[in-house]
């Protein structure tokens, strides 16, 4: 029963996202297309964070760092392409999405490898605080990056090129984001059921047992951290393209907190839930703000109540009963 309901929600969601642009255009609400593009990009980042929080039980409060790294790779490559200069004296810039986006993913993954390797020397509260501190360190680093605009950020004058598509076109870009988000979520659903995913879920529920079974849990967690970082990097690359702008704000811990809110609001450890969470968060932010300047005074308590009362967020409510399917 639950399985079919879950499927229903997922298919419904896919249909919704697929049909949104034509419907929105029909009603003349073009701006919804870009709002939902943004929501999908945040969803991508939130899903990657769900891998960490929901499946790896690694509470990272510095996930925005990888979003920021991805965005900066795109921005910096664009910068060098625009003025024909070389990065570190030998890397040329590029506007080609097929070059830049994989590069963003790769660099974010490498960042995650370093930060993860250091942070995973600890666990629990230490881990939370250390990830936060490292992200903050990168934030200050970006603020001081004079060549690339520092705190003022780095404007891009147009979006990346992607063979055969016009990313500057709202619809093209929307569907590119939709495609990438779907692929990423699909890969994640495979991942959590794979051998790696099983070991990871085991490692996150009972460290003692998994070690006694002969598994070096830290290396699995590290790989998960890297994969999540890579996902966030992709989201960063897309976000840079969406706003045609990169700024240190993307590395700020406020964004990490917001991503975390999206995951929990949508449903921790559900992969599809964070998408709902991201959409809801952006809609709330967008429309609460129209009604009151002080929207956060309402949003804060709502958040607390959601945390205190629901187990698996909106997705859990929709699927029913909070669900007891593992991890």
């Amino acid at each position: 029963m639950h399985i079919t309901r879950e499927r229903l929600i997922v298919y419904g969601g896919v249909l919704f996202f697929a049909l949104l642009p034509p419907v929105a255009s029909f009603f003349g609400e073009h701006y919804l297309i870009s709002l939902f593009t943004r929501a999908m990009i945040y969803a991508l980042a939130a899903v990657s964070l769900d891998l960490l929080l929901g499946y790896g039980k690694m509470i990272s409060l510095g996930h925005a760092a990888f979003v920021g790294i991805g965005a900066y790779v795109v921005g910096i490559m664009f910068f060098h392409a625009a003025d024909d200069s070389l990065l570190f004296g030998f890397i040329g810039g590029s506007e080609n999405a097929l070059v830049v986006w994989p590069a963003a993913v790769l660099v974010s993954a490498m960042g995650a490898l370093v930060i993860g390797a250091l942070s995973l020397r600890t666990s629990g509260m230490h881990f939370i605080m250390i990830t936060l501190a490292f992200a903050q360190m990168l934030f200050y680093f970006a603020v001081g990056l004079e060549t690339y605009g520092g705190d003022d950020g780095l404007p891009m004058w147009n979006r990346n090129r992607l063979a055969g598509l016009d990313l500057a076109d709202k619809l093209h870009f929307y569907y590119v984001c939709f495609f990438l988000m779907s692929v990423f979520i699909f890969c994640c659903t495979r991942l959590v059921r794979s051998r790696f995913g099983l070991v990871l879920r085991g490692a996150s529920t009972n460290t003692r047992r998994i070690r006694a079974l002969g598994v070096h849990d830290v290396s699995y967690k590290l790989v998960c951290f890297v994969i999540a970082g890579a996902g966030a990097g992709l989201a960063g690359a897309l976000l840079a393209n969406q706003s045609e702008f990169v700024s240190p704000g993307l590395l700020h811990w406020g964004l990490s907190g917001e991503l975390m809110v999206m995951v929990l609001l949508g449903g921790l450890g559900t992969l599809f839930g964070p998408v709902l969470g991201a959409v809801l968060f952006l809609l709330l932010e967008e429309f609460l703000a129209i009604y009151t300047e002080h929207w956060m005074v309402y949003f804060g308590p709502v958040l607390i109540i959601v945390v205190l009362t629901t187990k698996r967020g909106i997705y859990g409510l929709l699927v029913g009963g909070g669900g007891n399917r593992g991890g």
Partner: protein, 248 residues
Amino acid sequence: MGAEILAVKRLRKSFGAVRACQDLSFTVQRGVIHALIGPNGAGKTTVANLLSGELRPDGGHIIFAGADITTLKTYQRARIGLARSFQITQVFEELSVAENMALAILANEGGNFRFWHDALCSPVVLERLPLALERVDLVAQQKMAAKHLSHGERRQLEVGMALAGRPTLLILDEPMAGQGPGGTRELSRIIKDLKNEVSILLVEHDMQVVFSLADHITVLVNGACIADGPPEAIRQDAAVQAAYLGRQ
């Protein structure tokens, strides 16, 4: 070597002023059930933790299948065939019984950095999971989450998981703790059946179980070995009676 699977040599461990293990030496032969007994606070669980690698000894050596494993980490020891169960059952609460068992099977296989195919459908799991579940009588419960199992069933699952990796030595840390008479009987039967497959170090408090199962017994008091021999010899040993049985 040869007949010995495990040799413990002058093992020492202190927690502050408490000496949990003092110059402990004993050997476990292949293919036997070797029991480690002692009154509460004798340091039995400390020894189990030292052997599995969760604790570091202050001194002494642990030789497993001819190799010195004193400095190896828990997961490394598990990989070369040293498995254990815990006094307080340690299973993966959120996962289903089948997933628990599959994980135990896969863990020792290595090569788990595979990200695409469903873990429960991998060949090695398909091949070994049914048998592994059957051995501990959990076929019917395989879809249940581990946290919904009864106390006895969880214990069975844990023993089953420890066995799933085909260890050469299995350390059972107080498997009967908290079991009712029915559970004890069931578990005793399972342990007896295992004797042909794997050497067992049974760390136990329940004397009846020990004397009915063990081939060889080491008695621990205050972290030191006071007697070592076959059950009959231990039953007769004056020191043991004075220090341990006398108080029962």
